[in-house]
């Protein structure tokens, strides 16, 4: 395996959802890549297109959604091809989704749901699969794993259910894990436990991780790289460190302001005023301008494109924050 070749590569992805009242442009010109062992956080409000990116990374855009532009490549092969995608889905790329209660079939035992995946991808016999399933449950911290196999999801707590979902995701030794809001449906203490579990498993198994969340606090310790998504577009990307300490885009800065700190201080909590734009009719200017405190008439008519910055990241804004050299200087030249 080559260390530097990206596992997942998304190039200029465009996804639309036709609805009775108009076509929603859910993902607009999004590019990203994930290298082996790397952890990437994708942060955005609900409706920003982050879940669509997660599904697209598995080659799954649910009807009536359509990919109308760009590519999704898994180690160079197109996941937009259903036959290719089916080979890797659940085998090399796994997903842990938001609500474990909804992710597990309520009327089938945990054992059945675990073993069927291994039977499919690893061609394991029933007894081997059950053995492996019990080992996996133990690995994700579920007590009495042997007994759990014959239980139904509703007999477990939300946190335990999410551990089962993680165990299923890991069952075929994947190369990459996609965690789509893995803690949103859980209570606060369980959230921290599940996050720690995902992080430690990622490091221990050398997995690539794509962690998707609306909460910058969640990605804080878990991810090396971040991408901030707004209205279906990436508005800023870079190392977690850079974005936390020197956010260029006002939206990132606002998200940081809206993040409740773990020490319980809430004085920094600010709600971002206004609503995300209607993605059925996308305006010419910067999508964030109606909510942006620094917006000018220029912002309202001209669309900012992603451009590299000095920290090795990218941002799309006409009036960036926290810059060493103000952008206006660069423009005057």
């Amino acid at each position: 395996m080559t260390g530097d070749r990206p596992l997942l590569e998304i190039r200029n992805l465009e996804v639309v959802f036709p609805t009775p009242s108009g076509t929603v442009r859910a993902v607009r010109d999004v590019s990203l890549s994930v290298n082996p062992g790397e952890s990437l956080g994708i942060v955005g409000e609900s409706g920003s297109g982050k879940s669509t990116i997660a599904r697209a990374s598995l080659g799954l855009i649910e009807l009536p959604g359509r990919i109308v532009g760009g590519e999704v490549l898994w180690r160079g092969r197109p996941l937009t091809d259903e036959k290719t995608a089916r080979r890797y889905r659940g085998r090399q790329i796994s997903i842990v989704s938001q609500d474990p209660m909804a992710a597990l079939n309520p009327i089938r035992t945990i054992g059945a749901q675990m073993t069927e995946v291994m039977a499919r991808h690893l061609k394991l016999k029933k007894q081997q699969a059950r053995k492996r399933a019990a080992d996996l449950l133990e690995k994700v911290g579920i007590p009495e794993p042997g007994r759990r196999l014959d239980q139904y999801p509703f007999e477990l707590s939300g946190g335990m259910q999410q551990r089962v979902v993680i165990a299923i995701a890991l069952s075929c030794d994947p190369l990459m894990l996609i965690a789509d809001e893995p803690t949103t449906a859980l209570d606060v203490t369980t959230q921290a436990q599940i996050l720690r579990l995902i992080s430690s498993l990622q490091k221990e198994l050398g997995l690539a991780l794509m962690l998707i969340t609306h909460d910058l606090g969640v990605v804080a310790g878990a991810c090396d790289l971040l991408k901030v998504l707004y209205a279906g577009e990436i508005v800023e990307s870079g190392t977690a460190d850079a974005l936390f300490h020197h956010p260029h885009h006002p939206y990132t800065a606002a998200l940081l302001g809206a993040t409740p700190r773990l020490d319980g201080r809430t004085d920094r909590l600010r709600i971002i005023k206004g609503h995300p734009p209607d993605l059925r009719s996308v305006d010419a200017g910067c999508s964030f301008s109606p909510r942006c405190p620094h917006s000018t008439t220029y912002c309202e008519s001209e669309h900012p494109l992603l451009e590299p910055d000095s920290r090795g990241g990218m941002f799309a804004c006409w009036h960036p924050r926290n810059r060493l050299e103000p952008r206006s200087v660069a423009q005057e030249r």
Partner: protein, 312 residues
Amino acid sequence: MTPTRRTNHHLDRPPSHGWIKAVLQDPAALFGVVVVVVLVGVALLAPWIAPLDPTKQDLGARLLPPFYARGGSFEHILGTDQLGRDVLSRIIHGSRISLTIPLVTVTLAGVFGTAVGLLAGYRGGRTDTIIMRAVDTLFSFPGLLLALTILAVVGPGFWTLAIVLSLRIWMVFARVTRGLVLSAREAEYVDAAELIGASPVRIMLRHIAPNLTAPLSTLAVIESAHVILSEAALSFLGLGIQSPQISWGLDVAIGRQYVFSAPWLIILPGTAIAVSVLGINLLAGRLRIAADPQESAKRFAATAALPGAQSG
């Protein structure tokens, strides 16, 4: 959005789905509408459009085949029965029962059932428990057999038939209405209206009734199809409409004795029943989609997924 902003992407929006437009685009629903319109029209205009008196016997012209069969003529387009009565005229007049029986039955059952459902859903508590328990008990009665017993004992007739048929249908209305009232009551605006002290009748009329109209009308259409089928079956068994009144089910029963020599006496009136009921069911299917936003979203998702199904 602020009016000063330009819009550079105005993506294709499907045309606004008006009800009539939706029906016209759906051949099945269109068929349903045509059937219902024809049924109503024929029933209203029967004496004027029927070529002959449906009860006039002509023993010299018995069991004449319809035009498509050998020996058929255009004098009696759909042939004649064992008494020489014109089959087409009988089918045209038979439509009157197939229109009036469902109208009367569904009105009776709908009014009563809706009232019971409103009472149970709005009062809640013990009233609700007792009413719905009673409905559940009655609902597990062997319906048709009990209807047969009543008709056998009381004697058949138009009104007996209508009442017997409504005995089961009112429960469907009661259940559906109760469910709708319960979910409407959960809505915040009803809470708000109660808080400001609006009278129960006012809340019922202003806030709850509007939520009932669409689903209950759909239900009435669906149940009309049931009633037509049940009336035809009971008339066929000799316990529904009686001669000299004309019913399609009754005519099929008469034709039964001529299954070898005059099969059209079975096939033609039965086709009238089948087409009417199918038409009403197709229309009901479309109405259900129109009345239920979830259902229409599902349908949109399904059609949009089809290549070429999207209109710009």
